[in-house]
């Protein structure tokens, strides 16, 4: 479960990205985060896996209080949260296979299981034939799928995706959505920031709209609500 109470975030350079966020997300929910560029969506997401720390307010993730969570415990929080980054964040010198395996090596999974789990997830995102490629040898969409594969490979409780379909053609986007729905149906919480009106209006889920660092709308089975 994710709980935020009166959360503010001001970056060191003085930019206030979040201005009093209140939200509660239950385990197993599927939530879209929408809003114009610069509204604070990525910031909202970064607070959940402690890439950023709130300036004010309370954040609880899986019963852990983010403000009092010790620096040493942060890696363990992150193992329960799979993140698909807006800029992929793949390790440039590692192959696709090694990038995904990294998330499992961190939790000291056995080499046999690592092999199986990585191959399974590669199958799922359709990159089995590119396992030995390094990120530079992949298209943007393929890199994004590697990023998704790494986020879900260790079956985390929460998957957070920052524009996971931003670089994909419509067809691949729908495939990615299918994957996210699939892991959601097995009980994983999905939080997904997106600018895709089509996806939000077609696969109806809870929609949280952020503008100028505030939640302006929060509806179940909501609409995208912006014209592009």
């Amino acid at each position: 479960m994710i709980l935020m109470k009166d959360v503010h975030k001001t970056y060191p350079n003085g930019v206030t990205a979040l201005n009093g966020i209140n939200v509660e997300i239950e385990q197993g929910e599927f939530v879209y985060i929408v809003g114009p560029s610069g509204a604070g969506k990525s910031t909202f997401i970064r607070l959940m896996y402690r890439e950023a720390k709130a300036t004010n307010g309370t954040i609880m993730i899986n019963d852990l209080d983010m403000s009092s969570l010790k620096e040493k415990k942060v890696p363990f929080l992150r193992r329960d949260i799979g993140v698909v980054f807006q800029d992929f964040k793949l390790l440039p010198k590692l192959s696709v296979y090694e990038n995904i395996a990294f998330a499992l090596e961190v939790i000291e999974e056995s080499p046999r299981n690592i092999r199986k789990l990585v191959m399974d997830v590669l199958e799922l995102v359709g990159l089995k034939n590119k396992a030995r490629f390094i990120p530079d040898e992949l298209s943007g969409g393929e890199q994004q799928r590697v990023s998704i594969a790494r986020a879900i490979v260790n079956k985390p409780k929460i998957v957070i995706a920052d524009e996971p379909t931003g670089n994909l053609d419509p067809e691949t986007s729908w495939e990615i959505m299918k994957i996210l729905e699939e892991i959601n149906s097995s009980g994983t919480t999905i939080i997904m920031a997106t600018h895709s009106k089509e996806i939000v209006n077609t696969i109806k889920k809870r929609v949280i709209a952020i503008e100028d660092g505030l939640i302006v709308r929060d509806e179940h089975r909501g609409e995208y609500g912006y014209e592009i």
């Binding site: 896996y49 890439e51 040493k72 942060v74 890696p75 363990f76 992150r78 193992r79 993140v83 980054f85 964040k89 793949l90 390790l91 440039p92 010198k93 990294f102 998330a103 090596e105 961190v106 939790i107 000291e108 056995s110 080499p111 790494r150």
Partner: protein, 297 residues
């Protein structure tokens, strides 16, 4: 940490050497250059030190006994000398032995001295060596205070200056070596730091995927160790080869008793081991210190 993780870190450490291509070459090059310097300098210093030791070893005290002593008095003096702190060996040399030594050392001219054989004017002598050559002066002073000792000789004046000189030379040598090693560490850790700086983004990503600091640090540790070991290969080859050449071609031509190179076996091997140790140390130190900075993500 599970065994599989140890294996994983080892594997990653080795792979990183290959993955980082030119960065690895740069680091290994820096280690190699400095280790050659350190190695050559160490070889020089240790040999000079050995030579200084040799000279000091040659220092002995001659205690000339009074001419009128009876045999048992001579024995008593010998025992008294042995009691003195710091004395290593005491050898008696009669006046006849002293004379024949003198005659021998004079060569042809010495023949004329043989006339004295009937009426030897020399003294009986005790030849004393101290455990630590530095104690020579102190021990000599004590011996000269003994009843029945007429005079002590140990090369007064020269020996004091020799010890003084050696002391300064050693201190300067140690300071230079320490300075050189620290400069080497600084240079190399800077080179390695640059190669790791390029990887600070990667370290940040690893942290975001849930890696602990220790998990990130271990492959760097292995990598640094390998860089150090790789960097000491050429210096060790140079030391072994160069020293072998020196010992076989130079040392024969120099014929002073104290100018004698330390024997190739074991010295060159020991030096190689030291170089390997220093290499491994600076490799690990440079890489672990640099990665520390980027772990605070």
């Amino acid at each position: 940490m599970k065994f599989r993780t140890v294996r994983r870190h080892l594997r990653e450490g080795f792979k990183n050497i290959a993955r980082n291509g030119w960065m690895t070459v740069a680091s290994v090059g820096a280690v190699t250059t400095t280790l050659i310097l350190v190695g050559a300098f160490l070889a020089l210093m240790l040999n000079l030190n050995q030579m200084a030791d040799n000279i000091e070893e040659d220092v002995e005290i001659n205690a000339l006994l009074e001419l009128t002593l009876e045999e048992d008095q001579i024995t008593t003096i010998g025992d008294e000398i042995k009691q003195i702190n710091g004395v290593d060996s005491v050898v008696f040399s009669s006046k006849d032995e002293q004379l024949s030594e003198l005659v021998d050392s004079m060569g042809e001219e010495g023949k004329s001295w043989q006339l004295f054989e009937q009426d030897n004017p020399l003294n009986h002598v005790y030849i004393i060596k101290t455990k630590d050559p530095q104690d020579t002066i102190k021990v000599a002073d004590k011996i000269s205070d003994l009843q029945g000792v007429q005079e002590v000789n140990y090369g007064q004046g020269v020996v004091e200056r020799l010890f003084e000189f050696n002391k300064y030379a050693r201190t300067i040598g140690v300071v230079l070596i320490v300075g050189l090693v620290f400069t080497a560490i600084f240079l190399i850790s800077n080179t390695i730091k640059i190669t790791i700086m390029a990887r600070s983004r990667e370290i940040g990503i690893m942290k975001l995927v849930g890696a602990t600091n220790g998990f990130i640090r271990w492959p760097f540790f292995i990598e640094g160790l390998l860089l150090g070991i790789l960097g000491s290969v050429v210096p060790i080859a140079a030391i072994l080869g160069g020293y072998y050449y020196l010992e076989n071609n130079i040392s024969e031509r120099i014929n002073y008793s104290f100018v004698e190179l330390l024997p190739f076996n074991p010295f060159a091997w020991q030096l190689s081991l030291i170089i390997l140790g220093i290499g491994a140390l600076i490799g690990v130190w440079g890489s672990v210190m640099s990665v520390r900075k980027f772990l605070k993500v």
